[in-house]
Structure formats: C-alpha cells, structure tokens
C-alpha cells in the first residue's frame, strides 16, 4: 500500500498533527477506519480527520469510559476505531474498559494516548501520565508502543492498522525533537532500532528520551566514550534479542523514559536481563517513585534527570564502575 506521507513534515507539524495526517491518508484506502475522541479532538489533532470524514468521526464528549467501550463494540463488529485521548485518561480513567472490553476481548482498537509523560508539564499531576506504560504493559493482548518522534509516529500508526489487535500508542503533546529525517528506516513493531553505535555502554530509551539519549551519546563520544543508543519504541512485545546483545556487547545498560522507573521501560528491560542469567551494570532513569512538579517539559526532563545532561552524568558514573576489581564479578553466570 503506497503511503504518501513523505510529504508530511514534522518540522511544521506537531507529533499529534502527524498522527492526524497519517490517519487521514490511511483512511482513504480503508473504509473501516473510524476516529473517536472524548472532547480532545482539537488537543489530539483530529481536526482534519473530522473535516475530511465527518461521518467516520465520533465525538463522545468528556466520557472516556463510554468511548473505549463503544470502540470495543465497533471493533468487534468489523471497524478499526482509533481513539484519541490523553494517556492519563486512557490508562487510569477508562482502565476497566481498556482491560475488559478491549484487551480481554482482543478488540481491534487503536488507542492514541497523547500528552504522555510530563509533556503537558504545566498542567500538573492530574494531566501528567507517568504510570501508563507500567499499567498498559501488564494487560494481556495489548501491544504498547512509544514512538520517538513524529516520523516514527507515522510509521507506528501504519503498522497498527496492519496489525490485527489492540495497540496502545503513547505520544507527546506538541512537537518532538526530530530523531528521524525519513520514515524509511525499516520500522517494525517489536524491533528496536540501533540509532548510535557503541560498545562502552548502551542507553535504551523510548519516546522523547530517544533524542536526549542520542545527544548524550554524541557528547560522550566527544569525551572518548562510545555509547550505543537503542530506540526501544515497542515496550511490549519487547525486543529481548536487542537487549541481550547490548548486555553481551557493552555490559553496561541505562534505560531512560519519561515515566516512573517502576514497571515501565526500565522494568521491562530489567526483567529480560534478570531472567537471562547474564550480569551487567544497570541503571534506570525516570521519575524516581514520585509525582512530577509542574513546569515546562524540557525543565521537567532536566529535573528528573532524563535530559541530555542527566543521561551523560548517569552514563559517566556507570562507566566508572570497574568490574575487574570486583572479585565476585562473573561475566556470565
């Protein structure tokens, strides 16, 4: 299927707008695609879809439980509903419907969960979403994806349509820093992308932290450290192979996410490593079991140590750990 979203410029469009445009493109050839929102159509950039396909756009008002339940009913009857809301409401307010109506029934619903992490930082904890990856990752049948930027979001939306089953797509408010100049890098659900080569340590990141990790790797290289960066866009199913290869090749792993360190990307990576029988130095960056203060996204990322500086410091500390002096250290159990 030819998709013409090379025309979509993420320097001019926010990530949400890229999603909206991509959905419009896909809807041309797929009459089963419908879009639903709960009074966040403007905020989640559904406007163009609503204009182009008014009879396929459903406005549910401020009633998320009903929206996700109705989406499940639609999906079980042959439609492909894309629901748009803030990730805090998808994962907390409507969790029972997401769990029971969508995941349990394996309903082919795509959940676009925007304003993720601290990206709507000024709004405060009621609108921060720093637990959703942990919550969503625990739901059977659900694919959980955190795209790194607008271009990747376009790829994820296309892949989600092709995939038959529920998909949670966590995107940020506003513009993301550009990681990818093109959509053509072989995106696949469940396949991490190595965006920077290195063998001294590996930074595994998702979402807005991918760009920060990339910047950090460049800075570290200037200081003589070669650090690998993995864009772990799919949290579930997680790319075990890429993680274990990173452990084998670099023996030092740092995870970075705009999310609590409990149960999210860091938790998922830790589980893979712990069950592998391999040992490594390991550090999870993210919110340290706390709610975030209010502020601009970039400031909050700095406060939580998930921006470039925070990552550089954490990697440098981890690189100082000298395993050879530790008599108990064994490379592989």
């Amino acid at each position: 299927m030819a998709i013409s979203y090379t025309s979509i410029s993420q320097t001019k469009l926010s990530t949400g707008e890229v999603y909206g445009e991509t959905l419009c493109e896909l809807a041309k050839d797929n009459p089963r695609i419908v879009a639903l929102t709960a009074d966040l159509g403007k905020s989640t950039k559904m406007g163009n879809f609503a204009e182009q396909y008014p009879d396929r756009f459903y406005q549910f008002g401020i009633a998320e439980q009903n929206m996700y339940g109705t989406a499940a009913g639609m999906a079980k009857s042959g439609l492909i509903p894309f629901t748009s809301s803030f990730s805090i409401f998808a994962s907390c307010r409507a969790l029972d419907q997401v769990h029971t109506d969508i995941c349990y029934q394996k309903a082919n619903v795509k959940l676009i969960a925007s304003h993720a992490g601290t990206s709507f930082g000024q709004a405060g904890t009621t609108h921060h979403s720093t637990e959703d990856i942990a919550i969503m990752r625990s739901l059977a049948n659900l694919v959980v994806i955190v795209p790194a930027d607008g271009m990747e979001t376009a790829n994820v939306v296309r892949a989600a349509v092709e995939y038959d089953g529920p998909v949670y797509i966590r995107i940020n408010r506003g513009f993301d820093q550009v990681v990818y100049g093109t959509y053509d890098y072989g995106y696949q659900i469940g396949k991490a992308v190595e965006i920077y080569e290195g063998t001294d340590a590996t930074i595994i990141a998702c979402g807005s932290c991918v760009f920060q990790a990339l910047q950090a790797a460049r800075e570290l290289e200037a200081d003589g450290m070669r650090v690998r960066v993995l864009n772990m866009h799919t949290i579930k199913p997680i790319d075990r192979e890429a993680i274990l290869k990173a452990v084998h090749d670099t023996r030092r792993i740092i995870t970075v996410e705009d999310h609590t360190v409990i149960g999210g990307l860091g938790g998922a990576v830790a589980e893979v490593i712990a069950e592998s029988g391999m040992s490594c130095a390991f550090k999870r960056l993210g919110l340290q079991d706390t709610f975030s203060p209010i502020g601009f996204h970039e400031d909050l990322m700095s406060i939580h140590g998930i921006d470039t500086n925070g990552i550089v410091t954490a990697v440098s500390d981890l690189l100082k750990m000298d395993f050879d002096d530790d008599e108990d250290w064994e490379d592989e159990v």
Binding site: R32, V34, D55, R56, Y58, F60, G61, A63, Q65, N66, M67, Y68, G69, T70, A71, A72, G73, M74, A75, K76, S77, G78, L79, P81, D96, Q97, T100, D101, Y104, Q105, K106
Partner: protein, 285 residues
C-alpha cells in the same frame, strides 16, 4: 405485530425448559446466579426465539443480530438458550464453572460461540451495544442490537455516559432493555442506592421509556415492536420483573442473587417451575 396464542404458548413452553436448565446447571455447577437469570430469561427467550436473526452454524456471521448481556452474571441463563439453539452442546452445561471449562459465570465471547461480547464488569454493556449499532450503521448492515441491562448496574456512571451517547447518535436497530428486578447483591436496589425515579432518568436522557411486565411475552413484544419502529429517539424498555421468578424459595428474595442448589432443592424447584408454567399457560387466551 402482536404474538399469536400459539406463539405465546410455544414461548411459555420454551422458557419453562430454560428455567429448568438454569436450575439444573446451577446444581451441576454447585451454585449460580439464579435470581437474575430467572428474572431476565423471559425477555431473552422472546428475543432469541421471536426476533433475533442468528445462525448457530455461523456464530460469527457478520449480519447476525447482536445480544449484549450487560448483566453478565446472568450468563447461566444465556447458556440455556445457546445450548437449546445449538450454539454449544447441551452436555457442556455440565462443565459450567468447572476448571478448564469454556463456560464460566461471566461468558467469554472468544470462547463461547454465540456470545457477542464478554461482559461481567458491570456498566460496560450499553457502550458495547452502542459500538455494535454504530458499526452496523457505518458498514450499511441491517442487524439489530439488543442490550439487556440489570437495574443494579445502572448505579454505574458509565451506563449514563452510554445513555447520553445513544441519545446523541441514535443508531438504528438499538434497543435498550433493563431487567428491573429491584434487587442486587447487598439488598433491595432502593435500599442499596436508590434509582427512582428510574423511568424518569431514562426519559431525561432522551429515551422513549416504557415499563412493561417482564414476564409477559405479549406486553414485551408490543414494546419491542414499537422500539424497532421508532426512529426519532431511542427506546428504553424497563422490564418489571421478579428476581428468581418461578422458583418459590428464590422469588423476590434478594439473597438469591447467587446461591446453591442440591438435588433435593432442585427437585422442589422443578415442581415449583411446572406449577408456575401452568399458571402462565392459564393466562394465555
């Protein structure tokens, strides 16, 4: 079109079989949601045997009429119908609730042929039904969607979210029904959390609302016919029912929301049910 005398007699005979099956299955399972199954079984029987276009050989047929048992705990009544129609083997009812069975208290749509939606977490079914009805409209299909709510579950806010949306979208072929048996696990609905004025609530949400005897096939058929014909606003049919209807030990006693039957009790229940059946038949003129 109102039901003929023959149709009414046939429905009374059929639902008597289902009431027996509910008690028998409860005995096999050790326990079950007897009360709410016996209150809604007349309406469900009317839908499946008089209205719904379904095909047991093609349970996933895209054009089938949908039934959403939002009060999912009454699944023990739903399976009596599905077994009789041939969606599942009657023998499988002996495994109800047992480890490894495809049949549990709350039926799984991915495991039980003929079950359109997995329900059980209360307050979900009306949204699912709305989704099914909107999909019919979007895909130009003529199937109808019947949703059976419990009255107790109308304490869930999500029911009223769905009611608001049904009133807004008003998709064709969607009929909302409430099994108004006036009881829930912890007591009488009016004691636990009052719903009254119940019919007025539905009216305020934009529904044409009718109250009918939920054990009277003719009255229910009249209301369903009217609901399917009416297109200007959605309809809610409030079924005035008795929880545990037909079995003397259960009838009207909220404590029989869930309970156990041994063989001795089941024997008495069958006697009660046959006497109840005779009473119903005597009313058919």
């Amino acid at each position: 079109m109102s039901l003929t005398k023959e149709e009414r007699l046939a429905l009374e005979a059929k639902v008597n079989e289902h009431r027996h099956t509910i008690i028998r299955t409860t005995m096999w399972a050790g326990s079950g949601h007897v009360g709410g199954a016996l209150s809604m079984i007349d309406a469900a029987t009317l839908l499946y045997y008089h209205y719904m276009n379904v095909d047991p050989k093609r349970p996933d047929w895209e054009d089938r009429d949908r039934f959403v048992l939002s009060k999912g705990h009454a699944g023990i009544g739903h399976v009596a119908i599905l077994a009789d129609l041939g969606f599942i083997p009657y023998e499988s009812l002996k495994t109800f609730n047992l480890t490894g069975s495809s049949l549990g208290i709350h039926l799984d749509s991915n495991k039980v042929p003929g079950v359109d939606f997995s329900t059980g977490s209360l307050g979900h079914g009306l949204s699912l039904a709305l989704g099914a009805a909107l999909a019919a409209q979007q895909l130009n299909k003529a199937y109808r969607t019947f949703c059976m709510l419990g009255d107790g579950e109308c304490q869930e806010g999500s029911i009223w979210e769905a009611a608001m949306a049904i009133s807004k979208f008003n998709p064709p072929g969607l009929v909302t029904m409430v099994d108004w048996n006036k009881a829930q696990i912890d007591g009488l609905t009016e004691d636990v959390m009052p719903l009254e004025p119940f019919a007025d609530k539905w009216r305020a949400f934009g529904f044409h609302t009718v109250e009918v005897d939920g054990h009277d096939f003719s009255a229910m058929a009249e209301a369903i016919d009217a609901a399917l014909e009416r297109t200007d606003i959605p309809t809610c049919i409030i079924l005035d029912t008795v929880k545990g209807q037909g079995v003397n030990v259960c009838a009207g006693d909220y404590r029989w929301h869930y309970g156990a039957f041994d063989e001795e009790m089941a024997k008495q229940a069958y006697i009660d049910l046959d006497a109840y059946y005779e009473q119903r038949v005597a009313l058919v003129k």
